[in-house]
Each structure stands twice: as structure tokens, then as C-alpha cells.
Symmetry: C2
Subunit: 151 residues, 2 copies
């Protein structure tokens, strides 16, 4: 298992809270200088908004908190490999480092799918660290969808 | 020039209004059954939000208006080829048809860049109609960035 720190714990706490609300259990936090600037779990159902993924909400909240749309020198921790939409938003926000837990071969866009950060239309790529607590994050998602199918 | 209709006019009106506010002049509308459900120009500066592209805002407003995050049978008109983030959001919202004006080789993700709708990680692709009033939309953007460089 890769090294972890308290920020990935905070992302997992957001993922668990999302699951308890009946949302897909994915969580994210944006961190700068050891401080969490924005945190969120998935809220697509509650907000009736397909764009309300944890990463997008955490970025929007962090930008609001600091009064700047660009989050230079900030890092993002998320429990699942970002999708195509979120990978691009992370790039636009100028996130410095991206840490994520589970890989997502079906919908991911960092090491799967369009691999956005390796493309010529990507104008800022974060450093990427993946696989941190991967099994735990994957099990959380599997459990959620299994429960949904059974009910 | 391709056939146009009043909905692309409405997208251009949003683009012009965005330019007048000092935002990048791009506009979008979401339409269903001949009715505009959501309209927006780019608002990244005003909202301090890198995700506040015209398409994202128009989709969010349309979803709020109809009370459903999925905009089945709705069409989206936008003055520029959607970027990677917006192309994915359009897919998630289940937009039926996407009409856009100018192509964007540098940042687009439909016929340029990652060509998201042709990828295995894209689970819903809209029908795409592009090049409608292309020169007009491209000139609007060129004029905006030229004025910015001169001031």
C-alpha cells in the first residue's frame, strides 16, 4: 500500500458521507499549505446536477474560499480516478498534484480512457499519484452498487 | 454556410453579452420541444470558477428548471466546439443533439483533441452538427483576444 496522509482520510470521510446520503460514494478535498480549502462528496442527486462530482464541487468551494479561480500550488485528493470532465477541470484550476485512490477503467481519464494529461489539448498537467488505498476505495464503490442492485 | 435557426442566434446573443462583461465571448442554450430551458454565457471571471463555461451553466440551469439532472431529448447550441470538460458534461446530461459554430483545434474535444464521443469511456454520445456560422463565431473570439492584447 502506498503512503497515506490525513488528506486522503478527509477525502474518504467525504466519500462515506456521500454514500450515506444515497449518492455515489466518492469524496475529494483541495489542500494548500497544509490546509483544506474545499471539501466535497458527490452531490449529483441532491443538486440535480450531472456536474456535481466531488472534484468539481471541491474545486469550486476552494476557489470561492480563496477568491481566485486558479488554485496554484494546491493539491487535490480524491477517492476515484477523475472522469473526463473532472480531469479537465483539475487542469483548468491549475492543481499542482493529484492524488487518487481507485483506478476507473470504465470512466477514468487520467490513466484510463482519454488520458487527458498526456494530450496536446491539455495545457496544464498536475503531477499524478495513484493507487493510494485503492482496494478500500474500490470496495466502498462496489458495496454501494451491490446494495443498490439488491434493493 | 449551414442552415441556422433562432436557437443559435440565442447562443450568439449570450456570447456577445459575455464579451461585454469582459468574459470570453462564448454562449450556449439548452432547448427542448422548441423551448429554451437554460441559457448562459461564459462566467468564469465573475464567478471565480474555472468550471463556469457557457455549456456547463446552461446545462445546470436547464436541469434546475426541469427538476431532472438528465436532459433527455434536449439539444444544446454553443458558439464554440466544447472543451474536454464540457464535452463530458454534455454526455452525462444525455443531450440528444449538439450544434456548435466554430471549431477549436487548441482546446476542443469533439472533432479535435480527445474526440470524446468516439471513445470507449463515453457512454452517451449526442448527434453532432458543427460549422454553423463558424466564421462569425471565430471572428467574435479573435476580436475579443485582439482587444485584450491591445489594452
Amino acid at each position: 500500500m502506498a503512503q497515506t496522509n490525513g488528506f486522503m482520510d478527509a477525502a474518504f470521510a467525504e466519500a462515506l458521507a456521500a454514500g450515506e446520503r444515497g449518492e455515489v460514494p466518492i469524496g475529494a478535498v483541495v489542500v494548500r499549505d497544509g490546509e483544506i480549502l474545499g471539501r466535497a462528496g458527490n452531490e449529483t442527486r441532491r443538486l440535480n446536477d450531472v456536474t456535481a462530482h466531488a472534484e468539481i464541487l471541491a474545486i469550486r468551494r476552494a476557489a470561492e474560499a480563496v477568491g481566485d479561480e486558479r488554485l496554484v500550488d494546491a493539491d487535490l485528493y480524491v477517492t476515484l480516478e477523475p472522469c473526463t470532465m473532472c480531469a479537465a477541470a483539475i487542469s483548468f484550476a491549475r492543481i499542482r498534484r493529484l492524488y487518487y485512490a481507485a483506478h476507473d477503467a470504465k470512466g477514468g481519464a487520467v490513466e484510463s480512457g482519454v488520458r487527458f494529461y498526456a494530450q496536446p489539448t491539455c495545457h496544464h498537467a498536475p503531477e499524478v499519484y495513484s493507487g493510494i488505498r485503492e482496494t478500500e476505495a474500490a470496495d466502498l464503490l462496489k458495496g454501494f452498487f451491490q446494495t443498490k442492485r439488491e434493493t
